[in-house]
Structures are given as C-alpha cells and as structure tokens.
Symmetry: none
Subunit: 203 residues, 4 copies
DNA sequence: TTTTAACCGAGACGGTACGTCACGTCTTGTG
DNA sequence: CACAAGACGTGACGTACCGTCTCGGTTAAAA
C-alpha cells in the first residue's frame, strides 16, 4: 500500500537534468538556433526520443532549461554603499549577459514567441532572476540609512535589466563602466531620492 | 563612357518595395521565424532569386525592410507640456509596439543575433526611429522654458523604448496609463531635472 | 525433485493464444507490415514484454501465428468426381486467399525474407495446409477408380497454390470459375493422366 | 515559339536514372527493407529531397526502379528443341530469381501491397518480363513443327513463374535440374499436347 | 537594328534539421 | 519468476526551409 502507486518504468529524472544541462551549455556555446536536438541528445548521452518524451519541441525544452538554470543564479555583492553595490552588480549582470546568460534571454524571447503561454512562465523566472539581487542591495541600503524605507524601488528592477538588455541585444552599444555610472548617478539615484519625497534634495 | 557603365536589363526597383512590403506584412502576421522566403516571394509576386539578388539572406532582408518601414513612422504630438507630450507619445509607441511594430523588434533581435554586423545597422535605424520623436518633444519643452538647454536627454531615449519593450516582450506586463505616468513622473522628469544641476530642486 | 525444477510464477499459456489470435486478426485487417507489436499487445491485452518473452521478433510471432491458424483450417469437399472436387476446393481456396488468408501469404513471404530459417518452418506448415485437403480428394478419386494409385500428384499440390497466389498477389488477375475450370481440365487432369503412363490415352 | 514551353529549371533526368540504378543495386545487395533512402541518395549522389520530389515514398521508388530495370532484361536461348529450350530458360530464370531478381519480386510484392494501384502497373511489367521470353520459345517450336499453331500456351506463361517463385520465396525448396525436368516433362509438355486436341496422344 | 548582358519567374537541387514512429530492450512495482 | 506498464536507445521515415543553381524568356543600353 503505497501513497503514489505508479505504473510502468519510472522516468529517470537524472536525464531531465542532463538534457537541460546540455541545452544550457550549447545555448552558451552556439546560440539558440544553432542548437540541434541531435546535439543536445548526444551531449546528454540520451536519445532524441527521450527528449521529445519530455518536451514537445525545441522551444519548450530551451525555455524550461533556462528557467531552471536561472533560478539558481543570484549573485551577491556588498561593497558597502548603495552606489557602489549598484555599479558592481550591474557590471556583473552586463558581463554575464554578454556571454552565456545573454543567449538565455535571446532564446527565451524567440521561444516565447512561438508559444504565448511560455511568456507568462518566463516572466516570473526572469523577475526572480533579476529581482532578488537588487532587492538585497536596497534592503542593505535601507538598513544603513542611505535611503528611507519609503523608497519605491520596484521600477528600478525594471529599468536596469531593460536598459542593459536593450543595449546588448538591440542597439549593440557597449555597457561599460562609464555608462553604468551614468545610469546609476543620473537616473537610478535621482529616481530613488525623488521617491522619498520633495525633501530628498535637502538631505 | 561613364564611371559605372552597365549593360543589360536594369533592376526593377519597384520590386524592392514590393518585397519589403510583403516582408513587413508577414512579419506582423506570423512573426519572424515563421516567415518563409517562399512566402515573401509569393506575396510580392516575385521569384526567390530576385530576393536573393538584393539581400544576401533572410535576416538582411527583414532588417532592411523594418528599417525602411520604421523611418517613415514618426508620430508627432503636441499637448503643450513636457509631461503631457511624453505620456501621449509613450502611450502611442506602446500601443503600436503591442501590435505590428512589436513583431519588428522581435524580428530585429532574432535577426541581429545571426549576424552581428546587422546589429550596428539596426542601432541607427532604431535610434532614428525612437529618437526623432522624443527629440522634438524636448526641443519644444526647451523652447517653452520648461527645461534648460543643458538637460541631458539622451539617456531618456534609451530608457523609454527599453522599458516598454521589456514589459511587452519579456515580462509580459501591461503598459497602461498608470505605468506610463509613473515612469514619466517618477523616473523621466526627475532624471531631467537632475541633469540640470543641483538647483533643479529649487525650481 | 524434478529434472526441470523451475521457480516463480508459471507462464500463462492462455496468453500465447490471445497473442496469436490478435496477430492473425490484425494480419487480416491491416497487412503484415502495418502491424505494430504495440497494437498486437493492446488487442491481446498483454504487455509487449510478454510477447517478446515468447517470440524473438515480429517475424517469428507472425509465422507461428499463421502456422497455428492454418493447421486448423482444412476444408473438405466431396462432390463425387475428381473434376468436381478439384474445382470446388480450388474455388474455396481462391476465395479465402482473396480475403483474410491472402494477408497470411504476403505476411509469410515478407517474414520469410528476413529470416531464411523461417522459410523451412513455413514450408511444412504451408504444405500441410494446402496438402491435406488435396490429398483427401485424390484418395477418394483413387478409391472411386478415377485415377490409378500410381498417379503422381505431388506436383499438383505445388502448382495450384502457386498459380492462384501468383494471380491474386502478383498479376492481380481474377481467379474466376472459368479460369479454375481451365486449370483443372487443361493442366491438372492431363498432368495426372500423363503420370499414369502411356496407356492414359487409351482409357 | 516553342512547342513545349516549360517553366522553371527542368528536372535533370539523368538523376532519375542514377537514383533508380542506386535503388536496384542496393536491392540486390541488401534487400528491400534494409534499403535506406539516405543510402540511395548517397549512392546516387543526390539529395533525399530530389528523390522525394520524384517518388512519394520508398515503395513507389522501388517499384518504378524494378519496372524500368525488368523491361530491359529478356534473355534468349535457342537449344533447338522445345524441351531443351524450356529447361534452359527456366533454369536461367530460376537462377536469376534466386539472386538479384528475386529481390525485385519480393520488393514488388511488398510495395504493391501498400498501394493497390501499383499492382496493376506491376502486372504488365512482370508479364512482359516473363512472357516475352517464353513466347519466343513457343514460336520457334511451332516453326519447327514440334507443336501445332493451335496450342494454347498462355497458361504455361503463368504456371512457370508462379511455381518457381512459390518454390523460391515461399516453400524455400530448391529449383534444381531434376525439378525443372519434372515440371517440363510431366506438366508443361502434357498440357501443351493436350491443348492440341485428343489426337495429341497418337502423334 | 542588332547585340549583349543582366534581369526575371519558375522551380530543381544539395543540405540540414525537424518531429514522428516502430522495433526490441530495460526497469519498475505487483501477483 | 511472470506480468503490465511504459521508459529507453536506435535508426529510418517523410517534411520543411534555406540559399544556390539553371532553365527559357524579357528588357534596355550599347554598338
């Protein structure tokens, strides 16, 4: 008398991981549409049928793979000041986005287009991915008294990844130290200060 | 005896337009990678060879098509105040991005991925596309004395399309009136004021 | 303590029959290579493993199934004359071959191709199948004194099924009454008479 | 002003031949269902698409290939007597059927099963193949006066290939000299004589 | 006017990946 | 052990699209 009585040979979930791992690696190496299901299967030491038993096509596989991967990647930095932390973490994100992670975003967008439903699923994973890192920074800034508890920081969580990905994927401009400092000093900080009320200037 | 002397039947440039038109239509209807060169040719009543004589591949065709299309779409608004103009034009852009133009951006991103060189080409076209509209708004605001000549507005040209496209294509959140007002009031205006110097607060 | 002492659950031989029955049915319905082991298993309410525990592959299963099926189908006719009996039984055979049994032959040929060894196995089963019916007819004809004991009838056992299956499966000509009479009157009877010696003509 | 105005690049019919040639060769080498479209394409130095542009599937390709091949293979023998000619040509046919040609027949039957229409097409090709050879033999026998003009030989054209293919493909018995002589002496010759009238015995 | 070379439509072609399907094997839990 | 259920590796299938090519035929500048 078992709780879950299953029937037939159970799926080997280690294969799920192997496949997603292979997919992620290839995504970083060759880019979304250069990826071959054959290649994924080969690298995961798995048959194509086994992949298609789990995901209905390439797009679904890739999105799921990226999701799972993204969820366990939350870099933390602690320079000691809001400005320093922001510049540091944005630099990190930009760097990673330029390399492997960038392929994720591209892959996600392409895949999400095919299946609208994947878009929603994507949202949460990406927000989590981007959000948790910044949230920690703002919390520490509040703790240090740099900014007040009342500061509305949500919009920052949107602006930063948006601007960076736009630069990298669309306008193909470099996201260098100078730009990041400009972004932090002239957009983010003023926005936060403004959100703390008119007296923000008087601080 | 001219510098470029050519012999033979001259290229029919009316076909260029027909092809790009077909490409744009299909982009809006089915999305970048569902587009078939066969389908473009069919709709443009043109042979595939005629397309490939003009563009070296699908990506190039699409990017060029979008460029030409974008350049002739610069909506103008004139509400009478910086805030009003911004809210109005952003609303417009967001609306258009949600429909046909949205496919452009996606198409562009996908296409740009394939050929890095296209990215650069893309940059200018998109900046022009987005930029000219906002530029006019800021100029009028300066003329009205709302903001000083010294205001650094370039970064706004980046933030706005970036944030909007991120919402629409990636996080799939709605870009409604409330959000746009939030963006204008709590990010754009503060950023501009800040760029005018410390005395911005005193105004 | 027996010579072959086995341990564990004994094989359920009722499943052997169920599987062969399913195989035969499907053979008649869809033809040899449209048959799926999955389908056989499903119809026999049996698992694929159970089939493969009994036969080493599809070909073996099918041949065995057909063998067992064939052995229990020996129509008997008794018109009262050699000519009448022959025409009658050939008509019957032809009719059955056109329907279900036809698939058998095709199946057999295909199966036999894969594994040469199956050919031999097949031979006896088919001879038995075809042979026993005709043998009875000739015996009665001998008993009636229509033909002598010395008549060599073996070759007839080969010619009749060969010609009929050739018509049905290869040349796709109809095997009608007229043809059968022609075959009996102008080939079979002369052949038998000839086998009884020179004096056959004198009869 | 041309008689046949065609549109588009014309099919390279040399490829038709190359493909069919490759198919025939492979049929002889590995047998019908071991043949891979990939392998055919490779050997014919052609792409798979080119094959599928001409035939809708493997079966159709193979049948057509065999047809074209069969039509140009009509062995001729001339020993000088009906009996000798028959034994000779049957031996030849049997030998060839056991090797390469045998694969044809098998392939044909398998393929014909899938598409009923192919059966008809097959008929003529096979009759021609088998028929023309025997026809020549009987004509010479008539010319020599061995048999009368009235001899009905059509049924022989059916019996011989039927019996031989039955032996080879179904009952897997050898078609040796002894059997062929038996067939000729005890079936074919008596049948022909019988067809010449009752007085045949008196000759 | 004739030549000439590029243009054009149509579609064949080589290539490559796709997603599907069936075979025969294997791995579970249960009887 | 047998058995049901079904995952798994393998390998062929037939399809789709890309970008190239090869035809017959057209078109306008050059000769």
């Amino acid at each position: 008398m078992s709780i879950t009585s299953f029937i037939g040979r159970p799926r080997d979930h280690s294969r799920d991981t192997a496949i997603e791992k292979a997919a992620i690696e290839l995504l970083g190496e060759v880019g979304y549409e250069q990826i071959t299901m054959e290649a994924v299967a080969l690298r995961a030491r798995v048959s194509k049928a086994t992949i298609y038993r789990r995901w209905k096509n390439k797009a679904e596989l890739m999105v799921n793979a990226v999701q799972h991967y993204a969820l366990c990647k939350c870099p933390t930095v602690d320079i000691g000041s809001l400005r320093g932390d922001l510049i540091e973490v944005i630099s990190e994100k930009a760097k990673s986005m330029k390399s492997t992670d960038g392929q994720f975003i591209r892959g996600l967008m392409t895949a999400a287009r095919t299946d609208g439903e994947l878009g929603a699923v994507l949202t949460s994973s990406l927000s989590d991915y981007a959000g948790s890192t910044y949230a920690a920074i703002f919390e520490r800034a509040i703790a240090r008294g740099e900014i007040s508890d009342a500061a509305k920081t949500e919009i920052i969580l949107e602006i930063v990844p948006a601007v960076i990905s736009f630069r990298i994927f669309i306008s193909h401009q470099s996201v260098n130290r100078k730009f990041i400092e400009h972004l932090v000093d002239d957009v983010i900080i003023p926005t936060i200060k403004h959100s703390q009320g008119e007296n923000a200037c008087l601080k």
